[in-house]
Subunit: 333 residues, 2 copies
């Protein structure tokens, strides 16, 4: 049995390129006592990966040069010498960018493969969904009737935020790149409107779709769009800083929000969060979101690409805005 | 009787200059029925004045070209045809940059001239004090033991924030310009330390004085200092956006905080406020701060300049950091 994996070879400058990785194929190790062997089936690709490749303090330690790239995955236990897991179990965890992983069982979650298709455990029922749920509800503090603006609105997180906003009686408005995504946001995700940032400056779209201003802005992108939004927030608005994908591959300093004094004028707040802080409540979110899925109130779209070998190029889809739904690799059937 | 006043003649570009004002001397008007005439004694000079001179939406309407400049003042009623006021009463209100004002009594507060010297009603017992009290306590949400960093630490607002922080069991650290201000911050205001931003980059000073990071940053200045602070905030830090005096006279766009993603890494918050929102609770703050003054826990310093004629040049002291304490004009004795 062969393990295929990617290790970090160099800290990228700008967009990661293939030479920033070392691809290896090597024999799969045997689990020792207390360990188990997992064959990964789907591996999550996330915008945050770019940050993990940088040196220096962040909310998680950086991936060191030579380490297998950090990645969330779902897989099947194929051998176990751990009392809590047996061959045939489905699990999710940070298994890394590799086809096979040895685990000691820590931070590994058993999945019910009957309850939902496995890819959902990397999207709406995984970290992505948790990020949307807690970031929007606990940091955004939405109230019924609020206008909720979401960037990357058809992305993995944004699409869920928009749907939860609607469920909670808010009026979600999206920002997405291209006509197809904008149409999908309105027709399938229930956004009241969607602004196509690829068509030009977004100011007119914000004015049109958020005529009374913005109560909650769930920001996945940063940059120019955050600055534009700041000019249209309402009194006591909450800006949830979930990410800043427009800035992750900068080779120059990050663009700070030059309109941040709008926070003062509007007595508003900009707040960041990290989903791991809500780990004790993941079960609550999974239960609630499963319920909404059963009721037909919550859908999710996965963008599944075959083959771990494609990782370096597939990852770039995220930063080019080319994914449509939660991006992941299928590495086994 | 002659009223001396300044009207806005032009919207300034960069620092306001004398030609941006029209200075006039004209006969004082008579109060009509329901009105009163006030002779101003002290007029407040505030950093926010620069923003009021700009066109466009803010938390208050702009001062229009031709209007008497907006300014807070304390004065003495010298004639009254208003049932609630009589000659000899001392009052405070937005009386404008003029020596005499006609008022209909709205938003006018009677002062107890025995309880505190009149200049205190423009500093610790006025809008300045209210700004410090509510901004720090209600937006900064300090907890005992917190490290509280305050920029413009010897300024009108910052000096009060530092002292309240100490009263509340926090550890206040200041940022101020020059050795004399830094010494005053520590010896008279009780800051645990003070960083002199005029001596060079403030990173080493922050590292030295806030070795465990910053829980609350009360920001009056924005710009480079805000960016430096963002690199040293602690988990769940609160950044209170009170002002951004370093940016008010920019002729280029405001410098946004390029390290704002530290809010995400540290699950932190940046929040603005406007003191007027707390008007219903001013009495509470005045009572509390008067009490602290009596107990010797709270002092304030006023920087009093004689003569309304000096207004255009005296105002610039604020933006050059040349004031030492709450800046105001004395326009009568």
């Amino acid at each position: 049995m062969i393990n295929k994996r990617f290790r970090l070879a160099a800290r990228p400058v700008g967009l990661p390129k293939r030479s920033d990785w070392t691809y290896e194929e090597l024999p799969v190790a045997e689990p020792k006592d207390g360990e188990l062997l997992i064959r990964s089936l789907y591996i999550s690709l996330d915008p945050a990966m770019r940050g993990w490749m940088n040196a220096g303090k962040s909310y998680v330690p950086p991936v060191e040069i030579g380490d297998v790239m950090r990645a969330g995955a779902v897989g099947e236990v194929i051998a176990s010498r751990h009392p809590d897991f047996k061959a045939g179990d489905y699990v999710s965890g940070m298994l890394g960018m590799q086809t096979h992983a040895i685990s000691n069982g820590r931070n590994l979650f058993k999945l019910d493969a009957q309850a939902a298709p496995l890819p959902k455990y990397l999207s709406v029922l995984g970290m992505t969904g948790m990020t949307a749920y807690f970031g929007f509800l606990d940091v955004g503090l939405p109230k019924p009737g609020d206008t909720v603006l979401v960037s990357a609105a058809t992305g993995a997180v944004g699409s869920i935020v928009g749907q939860i906003a609607k469920i909670k009686g808010c009026r979600p408005v999206g920002i997405a790149g291209g006509r197809a995504k904008c149409e999908y946001a309105v027709s399938d995700l229930g956004f009241a409107g969607c602004i196509d940032y690829k068509r030009g400056p977004i100011f007119p779209g914000i004015a049109q779709h958020c005529p009374e201003g913005i109560d909650v802005y769930f920001d996945n992108v940063g940059g120019e769009i955050l600055d534009a939004v700041l000019t249209r927030i309402r009194l006591h608005a909450r800006i949830v800083i979930c990410g800043a994908i427009s800035q992750y591959n900068n080779t120059t300093p990050i663009q700070g929000p030059k309109n941040y004094m709008s926070l003062l004028v509007n007595r508003a707040r900009m707040e960041g969060f990290v989903v791991f802080d809500f780990a004790a409540r993941y079960a609550e979110a999974i239960h609630q979101m499963s319920q909404w899925m059963k009721e037909g109130l919550l859908v999710s779209k996965e963008d599944i690409v075959d083959g771990i070998e494609t990782f370096p190029e597939t990852l770039l889809k995220l930063y080019a805005g080319e994914n449509f739904g939660k991006l992941m690799l299928r590495v086994a059937h």
